[in-house]
């Protein structure tokens, strides 16, 4: 055996391991602009009391813990059960946005998040029959109308942990908006009709952004009340296409979808994730969820000044599912191209980066 070849091979494997390690925690880079950074020390107590959701409650006697980090790492070794986190923030929301996005990272096992005393999101199920959502990044839309623009706002997070690590354990913790979303000529983020085989969880119906039969897009459906859903769902949205916009050279952005999808506009199939996979030379199903869904709209398919309907059939194999990230909307090809190019550069799978490095 030639030992030089063997060593070279080993180096390649090592490199792959390194690339994989570096990219693992980073789902993809994107143009999210953080309005408020919420990483750092939060007020914390174990226990459970509905009064703790209220901005009027005085938490000055509570201890502080670092977020994101499990409460075990914060010194509460072996604690299981309920705990609450609280923190205030000030914000100047962008004028054009109706909603800002609250990212609460990964929470082990179940959570309910209150902003200014209002329930804005819930994932998993609290005790006694708990259900974990520990692998779901929590992103909840906050209606701008509940935010206090001149003064403090309060976030209170109720967490239930069944066993092992508990709390807000990792991920992005901030309030953000997606600046690419503002590049859409037709903004399609927000409520879509949602059909699937199961009902939204009872506790999610109390979330202020919950609407019967609809789902807020973007966002993993597990963080919208469908924690148990693996399989198929259909997203549908009807909208009026403005008469002053062109119906030629338009691109539909359906964000990022976990795992695969087929997209229909006015009854005609305009694309699917499997086509995109071939187009972008991706080799495995496992990175489907990283592809930005940018589908060319056939010229004159859009109904100018009239009603149009988009249907997106989504199938999720396992883990988090749904249209989980933006941008969502329609824009012209000229505006779309740099967004697509950027996503391709940023979102190559580690395997593809490895292949490009060695074989291009």
């Amino acid at each position: 055996m030639n030992s030089n070849i063997k060593i070279l091979g080993l180096n390649k494997i090592l490199l792959l391991v390194i690339i994989t390690a570096f990219s693992a925690g980073n789902v993809h880079a994107k143009d999210l602009e953080s309005l408020v950074n919420l990483k750092g020390y939060w007020k914390f107590t174990i226990g459970d009391d509905p009064d703790w959701a209220s901005p009027d409650y005085n938490d000055s006697k509570w201890t502080k813990v670092f977020v994101p980090q499990s409460w075990e790492q914060n010194g509460f070794q072996n604690y299981n059960g309920y705990a609450w986190y609280r923190r205030t923030f000030t914000i100047t929301p962008p004028k054009s946005a109706q909603y800002v996005y609250l990212n609460m990272g990964y929470i082990d096992d179940a959570d309910q998040v209150y902003v200014n005393g209002k329930l804005v999101g819930a994932s998993g199920k609290m005790g006694p029959k708990s259900e974990t959502a520990f692998g779901i990044p929590r992103m909840y839309p906050i209606p701008k109308s509940i935010l206090n623009k001149e003064g403090a706002n309060l976030i209170a997070v109720r967490v239930y942990d069944d066993y092992n690590d508990g709390g807000i354990t990792g991920g992005e913790i901030n309030i953000s908006f997606d600046s690419d979303q503002f590049k859409m000529n037709v903004d399609l983020s927000g409520y879509w009709d949602f059909e699937t085989s199961i009902e939204a969880d009872e506790s999610n119906r109390k979330v202020i952004t919950y609407r019967e039969g609809k789902i807020f897009v973007p966002g993993f459906w597990e963080a919208r009340g469908y924690n148990q859903l693996d399989g198929r769902a259909v997203y549908t949205k009807s909208f009026t296409y403005p008469a002053n916009l062109s119906t030629r050279d338009q691109v539909l952005f359906a964000g990022r979808i976990d795992d695969v999808d087929e997209v229909y506009l006015n009854g005609e199939k305009i694309g699917s994730s499997s086509q995109l996979r071939r187009k972008h030379r991706r080799f495995s199903y496992s990175s489907d969820h990283l592809i930005l869904r940018a589908y060319d709209i056939p010229d004159n398919l859009l109904n100018k000044g009239g009603e149009n309907t988009i249907e997106i059939m989504v199938r999720d194999h396992t883990g988090p599912g749904g249209i989980y990230d933006g941008p969502i909307g329609i824009t012209d090809r000229e505006t779309a191209s740099p967004i697509i190019d950027k996503s391709l550069k940023d979102n190559k799978s580690s395997f593809q980066k490895f292949l490009d490095y060695w074989f291009d």
Partner: protein, 321 residues
């Protein structure tokens, strides 16, 4: 799940040494458990040691040990355990006349526990200024008695300062549907909680079992928001208070045990809905347990009720330690 070493899972610190000369008599009389009994004409014996080496060569059968200790210097009375090392073959332990522990099975359905190392919770209500320990031992053959080990009163440094201590004698029945006959719990077996059921007459038993306890509660606790702590349970559990489900390990299904392989090391603290406990009527706790293999049951830790306010203080203190 769980191995023999789990008996040591608690962080126990010795606060009083009891390895000295104890009173000793062969024979077996129930009244010897009584603190009033006068043992002045009994023999002295070194604890720990096999009685064969202390003048009772070749003796097999029943014998009793007695000693007293003062609780005056013992603080944190909710956190105390009596540790008696290895006792050959079967024993039960009485403090001030109340049985606080049992290992193995006495004849006629004899079962040895000579290799069982246990610490028995000392119920705080039981302790007086001077306390009598009486240990009833049965030796089936070979060496007998309190043979070796670290003998003393121990303190669990992580004990929860309970408002209502519920450790001690509970009712117990094996079987998946045992909880359905809860109205006949008077006829169930007695079991000491905490403690593996294997050490208390259910050697090699794996599967479902049910623990039950009835208790009265003072009014001030019935109004508070309370937490039920059940220490550690091997492997998974489902808990009802006054008929209401208050907590369970995941789905409480045998097939989930392999994914929750360290479930047996997890501390149980279940928050009770307010107004669930009653001050005027008896309260009932039912704990269904499923054990996949090896040690089973509610086996260590603080068992009882604590107000949420005190529970929060406890965890903040424990964090800063």
């Amino acid at each position: 799940m769980g191995s023999a070493s789990i008996s040591f899972a608690q962080d126990l610190k010795k606060v009083m040494d009891l390895s000295h000369r104890w009173k000793f008599s062969i024979g077996d009389k129930q009244e010897w458990a009584n603190p009033e009994f006068n043992d002045s004409d009994w023999e002295w014996i070194d604890v720990p040691s096999a009685w064969e080496n202390k003048g009772f060569h070749g003796y097999d059968g029943f014998a009793w040990y007695r000693t007293t200790f003062s609780a005056r210097q013992l603080h944190d009375k909710h956190a105390l355990y009596l540790q008696l090392g290895y006792i050959d073959d079967v024993h039960e332990v009485f403090v001030n006349g109340v049985r606080i522990g049992l290992s193995g099975k006495f004849p006629p359905r004899f079962s040895t526990a000579y290799n069982v190392f246990r610490s028995y919770k000392l119920p705080p209500d039981l302790l007086q200024e001077t306390n009598t320990i009486a240990v009833r031992v049965y030796d089936d053959g070979g060496e007998g008695g309190i043979i070796h080990g670290n003998i003393g009163v121990m303190m669990d440094v992580d004990a929860v300062p309970l408002d209502v201590d519920l450790s001690g004698s509970w009712k117990f029945k094996t079987g998946q549907y045992a909880h359905e006959s809860i109205d006949q719990m008077e006829s169930w077996d007695d079991i000491i909680v905490p403690g593996n059921w294997e050490d208390q007459g259910y050697k090699n038993y794996d599967g479902y079992a049910c623990y039950a306890l009835e208790f009265n509660l003072e009014e001030r606790f019935a109004k508070d928001r309370m937490v039920l702590t059940l220490g550690k349970i091997d492997d998974i559990d489902q808990v009802f208070v006054n008929g209401v489900l208050v907590g369970q390990s995941g789905e409480f299904k045998p097939q989930t045990v392999h994914e929750r392989s360290n479930s047996w090391q997890q501390l149980r603290g279940y928050y009770l809905p307010t107004n669930l406990l009653s001050a005027s009527e008896k309260n009932t706790i039912v704990v269904r347990v499923y054990d996949a293999t090896l040690g089973g049951g509610i086996y260590s830790g603080s068992i009882g009720l604590i107000s949420q306010d005190n529970y929060i203080k406890y965890w903040n203190k424990r964090r800063n330690k």
